[in-house]
Structure formats: C-alpha cells, structure tokens
C-alpha cells in the first residue's frame, strides 16, 4: 500500500465531503459523489495486504459501501429525522459486517438495541421537538439545520486524522502477532467445553449410539494432537471405550460470549448494571417537571 494513494484519496474524500456539506451549489453534488466513491474504491483496491481472514468478500464491499454512504448522507441530510433513519441503515449494514466476522450474537443485539430501542428514543425526541410551520409559510427548515458550522475546518481536521489513522493501520497490521490457526482455535474451544460438562453429555447422548455414561464422574475432553477424545461406557458392556468427541459439543458464538461475560468479566458486568441504573435515575430526574419546594414549609 503506497502512502501516496492513501494521502491522495484522503484529500479527494475531504473535498467530496466538503462539497456535500455545503448547502449552496447543488450542481456540484454529483461531482462530489463520484469523487468520494472514486477515492473509496481506490483505497480499497490498492489495500491488497496479506490476507488474514478469508471471507466471501463481495458482501463485505456491499455492506461497507452502504454503511459509509449512509453515514455520509446522515451528516449531510438537512432533516434530522432522515439523519436518524440513515443511521438505522448504518447500524443494519454494520450488523451485516458483524455476521461476516462470525459475531452473530452482537449482530442481532446491535439491531435490537440500536435500531430498535435507542433510535426509537431519538425519533421520539425529534418528533417532540418538531416545530410546526407558521401559517402562511411552507415547511421551512430552521437555520441551524441548513447551514453547517465551519465545514472546511472540520473536514480538514477529520481527514488529517483519517490519514493518520489509516497510515497507522497499514503500517501496524502487518507487524501484528499472526492469528491462531483453525486447529489452535478448535483446541481452545475444547478447553471451554470442559467447563460445560452438561453440554458434552447432551451431545454425546445424541450423537454416540449406545452411550451409557462417562467413564469418570467428571467428563472431560482429552486432547491427543488436534483431535479430542472422551472416555465413555457403552450400554451392555462394562469396558471403558475411548471415542472421538462429537463436534456438536463445541460452543457456539452466543455461548462463548455468555461464558466470557460471566466467567471472565463478572465485575464489569455488575458495573454495567450500575451504569444503567444511574442513567435511569438521571433520566427520571431530568424528565420530571420542576416543582417548587419552599424552604419555609414544614
């Protein structure tokens, strides 16, 4: 990845965003769109780095384009309600990116919590604060929604920061520790399965014909090389048989996240609960109408 490509496309993108932010010359908007798309495409095309994760990449390009385009539209749209709806688009397409990254739980939690709960709150407040147009004049936008504040300075600062960030990414990522191999990942997953004896028993009952019980009272998976084995007793014979552990016992994404949440980060989980409780108190206090409390009253 030559640094020049990065800097030139940052400048092109900055010009595009600046033109899109300004309300006045509407003729320049298509030019800005083409400029921005060109810069984006160029950066992604020339960033052919050492591949670490092989994924069906067409979906990545589609959803990342939708996310970036909706984000741009969100900050350039005059009407706040449309800005909120474009943010829903950003959330949905980034949830799709999470699916590509095998984070199913977070993808759906994102849609439910962000698009479902937080955005609805934003829309409610926007509707509450909507001023009805005066009789005689048509639906006009308030001044503060139409004219951006210091677009040139903001775009300059933002894209200098983007150049810095992307430069760091492209220099830093090749120096990172190489990712663990699929075998290592599977071995790690078997370690997690050992914490969940019920789970392995359930899938052993389902998948192994004639399964009677485990040889030890505490069923655990033994790793021999890259393969996992369990000691079981079959129906009708007292001998201990060693069989390959069924792959369906491996934990799924939701289970791994849940286990990490309660086993590795229990204090943070409690703290998150406290934060939510405090936010609830704060919101109740803000929302209440101010009532006069006189000090002389008994």
């Amino acid at each position: 990845m030559p640094a020049n490509v990065l800097y030139i496309s940052c400048v092109l993108g900055a010009i595009a965003i600046y033109l899109l932010l300004r309300p006045r010359p509407a003729a320049l908007k298509p030019v800005a769109v083409i400029l921005g798309l060109g810069a984006l495409g160029w950066v992604f095309r020339s960033s052919s780095l050492a591949a670490a994760v092989d994924r069906p990449n067409l979906f990545f390009y589609i959803f990342s384009l939708i996310a970036i385009a909706s984000a741009v539209r969100m900050i350039t749209h005059r009407k706040p309600v449309y800005a909120a709806l474009y943010f829903v688009m950003v959330v949905l397409s980034s949830a799709a990116l999470f699916l590509l990254l095998e984070a199913e739980f977070m993808a759906f939690a994102m849609i439910i919590v962000y698009a479902g709960a937080i955005l609805i709150t934003y829309l409610f407040v926007l509707m509450l604060a909507h001023q009805a147009p005066q009789p005689g004049e048509d639906e006009s936008q308030p001044d503060y929604d139409v004219i951006p504040r210091e677009p040139a300075a903001a775009v300059a600062v933002g894209f200098i920061m983007l150049a810095l960030l992307t430069d760091t990414i492209f220099q830093g990522v090749p120096q990172m520790r190489p990712p663990p191999s699929p075998q290592q990942l599977q071995a790690e997953s078997w370690q997690i399965v050992n914490l969940l004896p019920d789970r392995i028993e359930r899938s052993a009952r389902r998948e192994i014909d004639g399964f009677e019980s485990f040889a030890n009272s505490d069923p655990s998976v033994r790793m021999v090389g890259d393969t996992a084995y369990i000691d079981v007793i079959m129906t009708g014979s007292p001998q201990v048989v060693t069989v390959e552990a069924p792959l369906s016992a491996l934990p799924e994404n939701v289970e791994r996240v849940g286990l990490a949440l309660v086993a590795e980060f229990p204090v943070s989980l409690e703290l998150a609960g406290v934060i939510l409780l405090m936010a609830m108190y704060g919101a109740v206090i803000f929302a209440r109408r101010q009532s006069e409390i006189s000090e002389t009253a008994s």
């Binding site: 984000a71 980034s94 994102m110 937080i118 960030l165 990490a260 934060i275």
Partner: protein, 103 residues
C-alpha cells in the same frame, strides 16, 4: 478482488469514525450531534469485533456489549437533557446554549 483482511474492516471503521467526527463538529442541531457520537460508537464496535475475530477471542464482543450499555445510558441522559433544554428555549440549536447560565 482481493481477499479480505483485518485492515479492510479497520479501514471501514476508521472512515465511519471520521465521518461521525466531522458530523459532530459541523452539525448545529443538538440531537444530530448526539447521533454522530452514536456513529462513532458504531465504528469503534466494528474495530473491536474485527480485532476479536482476528485473534479468535470473544473479548472483543464482550467489549461491544459494554459499548452498547454506555451508548444506551448516554442516549437516555442526553435526550433527557435535550428535552429539558428545548423546553426552556424552544430551539434545538447548540449555539443557543453557548453560554451556560441561568436563562
């Protein structure tokens, strides 16, 4: 087309983050400014999950759950504040409140 790497996701995340930053500075509507901070949270979440996937670790996703918590708390408090301010001045312009005092 090239195969995907961690950098692709980080690049998307960085671009969305910077767009959110520009939006926060240029927009003058208080609610849209808060929406732009949510955009930055979203970008951070993409970066976290991409790193987590690269290392085969679920800690990235646990972090995103906490980001979600903070975002929800922030949205509740910020919107409560905005409603309170709107009741006093009947405008959503951030500049109406450039001097915080008794009004």
């Amino acid at each position: 087309m090239t195969t995907l790497s961690l950098s692709h996701f980080l690049l998307t995340s960085a671009i969305i983050f910077v767009i959110g930053l520009i939006g926060f500075v240029t927009r003058r509507n208080m609610i849209v400014m808060f929406l732009c901070t949510e955009l930055m949270f979203q970008a951070a979440a993409i970066a976290m999950i991409a790193f987590g996937h690269y290392h085969g670790d679920v800690s990235g996703q646990v972090f995103v759950i906490f980001i979600l918590t903070v975002a929800a708390a922030e949205a509740a408090l910020a919107l409560g504040l905005v409603v309170l301010l709107f009741r006093r001045r009947a405008t959503l312009s951030a500049e109406a409140w450039s001097e915080l005092g008794e009004a």
